[in-house]
């Protein structure tokens, strides 16, 4: 599939060879997408790093490895944050009681 190539690590640095952009396009419909987008804004106010990771992963198609390299943090940390952000977003979308 187009854009699905995996990032290639290069010696002494990091290079992004492709962006996966089919993720957001395929996974959810437009309405849900805009809800997620809104919830992400809310999350960004409360916990910017979390929102950023979801943004990069989901909307921009970066892999955990790429995000980890960009920020110089462990991939596992990125993944954990993403999992947490995902929980938040889902609850937000479900709940009509957004803070």
């Amino acid at each position: 599939m187009h854009g699905s190539s995996t990032p290639r690590s290069v010696a002494g640095g990091f290079e992004i060879t492709a962006l996966r952009t089919d993720v957001a396009e395929n996974a959810v419909d437009g309405r849900e997408l805009s809800q997620i987008s809104q919830a992400l804004d809310e999350l960004a106010k409360m916990d910017p790093p979390l929102a950023e990771i979801v943004d990069l992963k989901f909307f921009c198609g970066f892999s955990f490895g790429e995000i980890a390299a960009l920020h110089g943090i462990a991939e596992r940390t990125v993944q954990r944050r993403w999992q947490r952000g995902r929980i938040y977003l889902h609850l937000s979308i479900r709940s009509s009681l957004l803070p």
Binding site: M1, H2, G3, I16, T17, A18, L19, R20, T21, D22, V23, A24, N26, A27, V28, G30, L33, S34, I36, S37, L40, D41, A44, M46, D47, P48, P49, A51, E52, V54, D55, L56, K57, F58, F59, C60, G61, L70, H71, R76, R80, R81, Q83, R84, R86, I87, Y88, L89, H90, L91, S92, S95, L97, L98, P99
Partner: protein, 601 residues
């Protein structure tokens, strides 16, 4: 955790992180231990973990391979779409097809129908268009083609109906009719006026390029007409490899005219400067006969290479570019009814600094005009909000007729005329030094607050620090303390070079800064004054060697002419990692919806 109470979310977050790190079979025991300590917290964490498990199973936000719907059959002549009957296909591009169509009602006329290809959310496209429709309808300018409506075809593709313009792309037209540089400039000024009209209605085109500027001959005069207003915004997508290349790796965008901010990750964070940048590229091409970046070279780098080049590389000056065209320079000159050396002289003499501002001492005088132009083009608020503090720095020697103690409030003392006619713009921190009688300081830090209701346009461009008062200083009312250029100079500038140049100067002010991104780190030998021509909140002195990248992106940094410094304008280059570091920007960045551009002041 039925609602998303921020406090509870924050409290649960670290525990959630811990739990997520545990192997699944250990979570129960871990939760039990937590429950013993804090039952409420444990309950929240448990709920969230349950949510996590559900989402993992559902692969929520992970990439789900949902196949795209099959593509639609081709459109056919004779087909009816809404009130339009398709006559003839007149164009095809990466975005879709353009058809000449007959509109039967309410008026019978021919329109251009742009049908967007499969792959966009039609509702979203139409909704975005509708959001701007009111503003689009307000546009009424001979150089702007009218946009009629947006709708969807029976197959569900979005389409735009607009005034049909029978003309040729502006660069083609100029070359084909061998317009002289002056004729080209005159045409370009008209184009600027059309774009300005749109900007005044708070509409940004976002996709200006020669194929969107068609030249028609109307009543014996040439008229550039900008088409596709509103289309780019409605169909805006993030700039991604996918939006730029087809599956076969064919480039579908036109990166040559793309502004650095559009080449950023967001692709959304644009304002009127984006259009002006594109105008600058068009002018460059019209004058030189080549683009600032060689298309082959630009495209050879692939997606990342294109983005990097647009955002970081400094294009050659028009004259340099022309001089290195080789054999093509003769052809280029011939198409402008001149010869290579004359064209080179013209570019060098008058137009280089407009299309590309540099540190070249020959064009140092342009610094003044440029600083001024930037301000005029982008005047900012004419009245400073009451809450906003404005700071000023004078980089020129100040006359001091008295003395001021350390810590004196300078804001009371700024008035009078300047030492030289040079404009100065600046701002920085109070140095804290005491000044004695007769002292002069090259750099003074003056900080003050602008009174609400003070018009910035009335500011003086020069100032003398009057230190004759008592050291403790009567604190006069707050004074406006910045100015870019005097009114008289403004008038001179406006009336001097003639309307053609004026239009170009105005239009290109932005382009100059954008095209010449400047160093991200100021050389150690150079002292730099930073000026923000946008809302005046990030002004400050930057020490030699300062890395200015952390500064706000929208700032323009100007080094005013100073006896000891080379004038130069630099736009802050924003690299990818800096962009990432700016969490707020990023959080609102890579998103699908379009954000409205900043409306021109």
């Amino acid at each position: 955790m039925p609602t998303l109470d921020p406090n509870r979310w924050q409290a649960a977050s670290p525990y959630l992180d811990q739990a997520l790190d545990l192997p699944e079979q250990e979570r129960a025991a871990w939760l039990k231990a937590l429950r013993a300590q804090n039952p409420a917290l444990a309950a929240d964490v448990e709920t969230l973990l349950g949510e996590h498990d559900t989402l993992s199973r559902r692969k929520f936000l992970e990439d789900g391979p949902t196949p795209l719907p099959p593509s639609d059959p081709e459109l056919q002549a004779g087909e009816t779409i809404g009130p339009y009957c398709l006559l003839q296909r007149i164009g095809e591009g990466g975005m879709g097809e353009v058809w000449l169509a007959d509109q039967a009602s309410p008026v019978r006329r021919q329109v251009a129908l742009k049908v967007i290809k499969q792959g966009m959310d039609t509702r979203q496209v139409i909704a975005r268009f509708e959001a701007e429709r009111q503003a689009l309808a307000l546009m009424d300018h001979p150089c702007v083609a009218k946009v009629i409506e947006a709708g969807s075809t029976p197959q569900g593709k979005p389409y735009f109906a607009m005034e049909y313009v029978r003309g040729n792309p502006i660069t083609d037209y100029c070359d084909r009719h061998r317009l002289t540089p002056r004729e080209r400039l005159e045409l370009f000024v008209l184009l600027c006026e059309g774009v300005q009209h749109a900007h005044q209605k708070a509409i940004i085109h976002r996709d200006l390029k020669p194929s969107n500027v068609l030249v028609v001959e109307q009543d014996g005069r040439l008229l550039p007409k900008v088409i596709d207003f509103g289309v780019a915004k409605a169909t805006a997508q993030r700039l991604t490899e996918k939006t730029m290349f087809t599956e076969l790796g064919v480039l579908i965008g036109t990166p040559e005219y793309m502004s650095p901010e559009q080449a950023g990750l967001t692709g959304e964070d644009v304002d009127t400067r984006t259009d002006v940048y594109s105008l600058g590229v068009i002018l460059y091409e019209m004058l030189v006969g080549a683009l600032p970046f060689d298309p082959k070279e630009l495209r050879s780098g692939g997606f990342e290479g294109i983005r990097r080049m647009i955002r970081e590389d400094e294009p050659k000056r028009p004259s340099t570019r022309f001089a290195t065209l080789g054999e093509r320079s003769g052809e280029s000159a011939r198409r402008r009814r001149t010869d290579p050396s004359s064209l080179l002289r013209l570019l060098r003499g008058d137009l280089d600094w407009i299309a590309h501002f540099t540190t070249d001492p020959v064009v140092a005088g342009a610094a003044n005009a440029l600083v001024y132009t930037l301000t005029v083009t982008n005047p900012g608020p004419s009245v400073v909000p009451a809450s906003q503090a404005v700071t000023v720095v004078d980089t020129l020697p100040l006359e001091t007729g008295g003395w001021m103690a350390t810590g004196t409030d300078w804001s009371c003392a700024i008035s009078g005329t300047g030492v030289s006619g040079d404009p100065y713009v600046a701002s920085c921190d109070w140095t804290g030094a005491a000044l004695g009688v007769g002292d002069s300081a090259d750099v003074l830090t003056l900080t003050g607050t602008v009174d609400a209701g003070t018009a910035l346009t009335s500011m003086s461009n020069t100032a003398t620090v009057d230190t004759t008062t008592d050291p403790t200083g009567p604190n006069l009312s707050n004074t406006v303390m910045t100015g870019v250029i005097a009114e008289s100079e403004l008038t001179l500038m406006k009336s001097g070079p003639g309307s053609v140049m004026r239009g170009v100067v105005d239009a290109l002010a932005y382009t100059l800064t954008v095209m010449n991104p400047g160093p991200s780190v100021v050389p150690a030998s150079q002292t730099v004054t930073v000026v923000d021509t946008l809302p005046l909140e990030t002004s400050g002195w930057m020490a030699a060697g300062t890395d200015w990248s952390p500064m706000a992106r929208s700032c323009t940094y100007t080094l005013p002419r100073h006896p000891s410094s080379t004038a130069r304008v630099a736009r802050l280059p924003l690299t990818r990692s800096e962009h990432m570091a700016d969490s707020e920007r990023t959080a609102s960045g890579c998103r699908w919806r379009s954000r409205g551009g900043r409306s021109p002041t």
